[in-house]
């Protein structure tokens, strides 16, 4: 099963809706589906809506109408994602309206997902992280720099390839923010 049809998504959402589970994370091939019930505070509605489908905006629309009835995506809210981030998330195949926050590379170098060759990656999609967690290593000329998450949330997407060069400020991970302490909220306050 490489792709999921909209009907299947709706079916999955219904199952989750009726179940006692709060969340579901499904990954198959290039396709990822993260479903969450019971949104948090008003501030975090955006990032904790009942469903997320990265890279499939139409499916998201469908899901929203299922999960929230008439309550469609609020344009004002979506616009609060900084324009630069929006462009970047879109370029990465993500949907900025889903409120994912990027973890960016602090420098140009080689991206490593694990502390050493053969070791398990620091983080996988779906993994909860806190600000102090290491998420990857960027190597510049044999100098290994550990990158911290600096945000609480859950890894929604790994955007860079292990062992490949990443640029300064390139998005490495997309994180679903959970506690309102992330950079988007700071930006909202600033604006």
């Amino acid at each position: 099963m490489d792709t999921i049809s909209q009907d299947e998504v709706i079916q999955i959402l219904r199952i989750v809706e009726e179940s006692t589970f709060d969340e579901l994370c499904l990954e198959t091939g290039d396709f990822k589906l993260i479903v969450k019930k019971h949104g948090g505070s008003e501030l975090n509605q955006r990032s904790s809506r009942a469903g997320e489908i990265l890279g499939h905006p139409e499916a998201v629309q469908e899901r929203q109408s299922v999960a929230m009835g008439e309550n469609q995506a609020e344009p004002g809210k979506a616009a609060s994602v900084p324009e630069k981030d929006r462009r970047e998330i879109e370029a990465m195949g993500g949907n900025p309206e889903e409120g994912c926050i990027p973890i960016r590379s602090p420098m140009l170098g080689t991206f490593y997902r694990a502390p050493k060759p053969g070791a398990p990656p620091f983080v996988e999609v779906g993994r909860w992280i806190s600000a102090d967690d290491s998420v990857c290593i960027i190597e510049v000329m044999k100098l290994f720099n550990t990158v911290k998450a600096n945000i609480r949330g859950r890894i929604a997407k790994v955007c860079a390839e292990n062992g490949q060069m990443v640029e300064y400020q390139q998005t490495l991970f997309l994180v679903e923010e959970v506690d309102g302490a992330g950079e988007t909220d700071k930006e909202e306050i600033a604006s």
Binding site: M107, L108, G109, T110, E139, V140, M141, L143, Q164, M165, E167, Y168, Q169, Q170
Partner: protein, 460 residues
């Protein structure tokens, strides 16, 4: 091109555009390093690929050797062209290239190190039988400087051994000023180069700055591409350059070009370089000043009179080939002038003037060349130098080149920020310039004052 198929261009601005053009013409793939501010720059759009290496501050981007090497290796580049400025003359980048099997499109690290030491360069020139300006060895304190100054004769110039770009360079007219100026010069040298070593040179008051373009290959061949006259300077920053020099006779030209080649041969110099001389106009003698181990800002004037593409030649010799021409084939034809169009207010003491360019219209036509990275809507960042464009004109003779320059300057439209265009118009209409009656301090001692007095109007 053998050995080079993908080039990392480790620079920005007009020189990045210039190098990228050469890459395209040679069929080389290009990767450009960009800081965050330069991500959407003109060269970033011209390059096959642009990689972001850091924040706008050069210290955190364009000056980071490790990051640039990592960018070259990570993009599969096999050569690095450093342009001018930034890391072009830092032995560390050339050395790191050698360590990682990358071709550095420039001289050997060792030559950069040797010629970067101005005292070593003086000795080397002396050893090649070229006159050097009477001067001293290192002077450790004002007393030693005073002793040296008496020997070579006032006025003197205090110069930083690690110097360049006029930093740490001070004129001292009288013995009693020496102590104060010495402290200033060594302090400035320390902050600019991390090296406060100072030496003393006699100051030639009525001088012209004449420099000779040379290029060397891996087989020990060195050719010259004639001289450039860069006497029009303000605070040791060149403003107008031309080739050939109106002050150099064919006889002197032969001598000075031969001297430059001898110096290049003395160190077995590879790639493009410039040997600078001071021409004492009162005595008709020339002295070695220093050698610049890079492609220079003003290289287009040489290209316009020789028909040789210097950046392409740089790639050729870096790849291990020889030049495309022999010395006998290099011909001087016509006359070329370059004006540096900077984002500066000539009416306000040449203070830098960053900001948005609301309108940019550069002149075109036969004999007019504009090397630039600017366009309407471009933001001139305060992080980098103020060079916006190099306007170059070429005529069959000097008069024609000047006429064309006057026309081109008048047609050059830059709105939103101040530029040096009106000052260049003032120069191009000045009788002293037209008659070739200038020296290295002409702009500062005479022109700046006249410009201010006339409110920038040359006809008043």
């Amino acid at each position: 091109m053998k050995g080079i198929s993908r080039v990392l261009v480790a620079n920005r601005g007009e020189i990045a555009v210039r190098i990228l053009r050469a890459c395209r013409e040679l069929g080389l793939e290009s990767v450009l390093t960009v800081s965050e501010t330069d991500k959407n720059s003109l060269p970033a759009r011209l390059a096959d690929r642009a990689v972001c290496i850091g924040p706008p501050s050069p210290m955190e981007s364009y000056l980071k050797v490790d990051t640039i090497i990592a960018a070259a290796l990570g993009t599969g580049s096999d050569a690095i062209h450093p342009g001018y400025g930034f890391l072009a003359e830092q032995p560390q980048l050339a050395e790191a290239c050698a360590t990682h099997g990358l071709i550095f499109v420039g001289p050997k690290a060792d030559d950069l190190r040797k010629m970067g030491d101005k005292l070593y360069a003086r000795k080397l020139a002396g050893g090649a039988g070229v006159s050097i300006i009477p001067g001293s060895e290192l002077v450790g304190h004002p007393g030693e400087a005073a002793e040296a100054a008496r020997r070579v004769g006032f006025p003197v110039l205090l110069k930083a051994a690690a110097g360049g770009g006029g930093k740490g360079m001070k004129i001292v007219a009288r013995a009693e000023d020496l102590r104060t100026v010495f402290d200033e010069a060594s302090g400035e040298a320390l902050s600019a180069f991390g090296d406060d070593r100072i030496y003393v040179e006699h100051y030639i008051e009525n001088a012209r700055h004449i420099e000779v373009q040379i290029i060397g290959d891996r087989f020990g061949n060195i050719i010259h591409l004639f001289e450039r006259d860069c006497s029009l300077q303000r605070r040791y920053q060149k403003m107008v350059e031309e080739a050939p020099s109106p002050a150099v006779s064919p006889e002197l030209r032969r001598e000075i070009c031969e001297a430059a080649v001898r110096i290049g041969k003395q160190i077995g110099y590879e790639n493009a370089g410039t040997v600078e001389f001071m021409l004492d106009q009162d005595h008709g003698r020339f002295y070695f000043l220093e050698m610049n181990t890079r492609i220079q800002v003003e290289h287009p004037v040489t290209e316009m009179i020789s028909g040789i593409d210097l950046v392409k030649e740089q790639f050729r010799v870096a790849a291990g080939d020889s030049f495309s021409v022999s010395q006998e084939e290099v011909r001087l034809t016509g006359h070329a002038i370059e004006c540096r169009i900077n984002a500066e207010s000539p009416g306000a003491g040449f203070s830098p003037c960053p900001g948005y360019i609301t309108e940019w219209k550069s002149p075109t036509g036969e004999g007019v060349r504009v090397d630039s990275h600017c366009y309407s809507g471009y933001f001139v960042s305060p992080y980098y130098d103020s060079l916006l464009a190099k306007l170059i004109t070429r005529g069959t003779d000097r008069r024609e080149a000047i006429d064309l320059m006057q026309y081109a300057l008048a047609k050059f439209v830059v709105s939103g920020i101040d530029t040096t265009i009106p000052f260049h118009q003032f120069i191009m209409k000045h009788t002293d310039y037209l008659n070739g009656n200038v020296s290295t301090n002409w702009i500062e001692n005479r022109l700046v004052k006249e410009y201010e007095k006339n409110g920038g109007n040359p006809f008043r």
